[in-house]
Symmetry: C2
Subunit: 106 residues, 2 copies
């Protein structure tokens, strides 16, 4: 996508696909945790407090969106951020939340 041109419908769809992949509290938590380093599925499961299969599916979804990558080492599969700049994203998100809540009266 060339940024000096107006975004096309396809651009908005591509953006929306990534947004959707991130638009879940558990997946946001996983991204945040992976920002501290690679983790195996079990590690993430312990934080997420849901079924291991559920965690695995969330991770597949993030992988399909290109946000994480995995590597099998020994018995475990380790996941890590593939696109670390996704973290800047969170700062923007928190700015939006803060700005909104200030308007609303905290």
């Amino acid at each position: 996508m060339l940024m000096h041109l107006p975004p096309t419908r396809e651009d908005f769809e591509a953006r929306a696909r990534v947004m959707k992949a991130l638009a879940h509290p558990t997946r946001l938590m996983m991204i945040e945790e992976l920002s501290r380093g690679e983790r195996c599925v079990r590690d993430l499961r312990d934080l997420a407090d849901c079924d291991l299969s559920t965690v695995s599916k969330h991770l597949s979804l993030l992988k399909d969106a290109g946000m994480v990558e995995d590597e099998k080492r020994g018995k475990q599969v380790y996941y890590r951020l593939r696109v670390p700049c996704v973290l800047n994203f969170f700062h923007c998100l928190d700015s939006v939340l803060t700005a909104r809540d200030r308007l609303t009266g905290l």
Copy 2:
């Protein structure tokens, strides 16, 4: 949310709610259009190419999420961004897309 503390489950849920509100191509397009100034529902409908009622529901959703506000003037209802910093968000999003697609081999 105090940023020097680790995010809680509620923080992730609050973030996810905003992400979900934005995670739709039509709504992303609307936000982008509103970044150029206020628009009435009809204006947005012409760009979105879907039913007026659909546009109206997308706008309600964005309003509930605190992203836009509306004002009735004359016959029309004008919408505008309530939290302009949501635009920074798009820059981050595009960085993520660009970084990912570079890794994938464009």
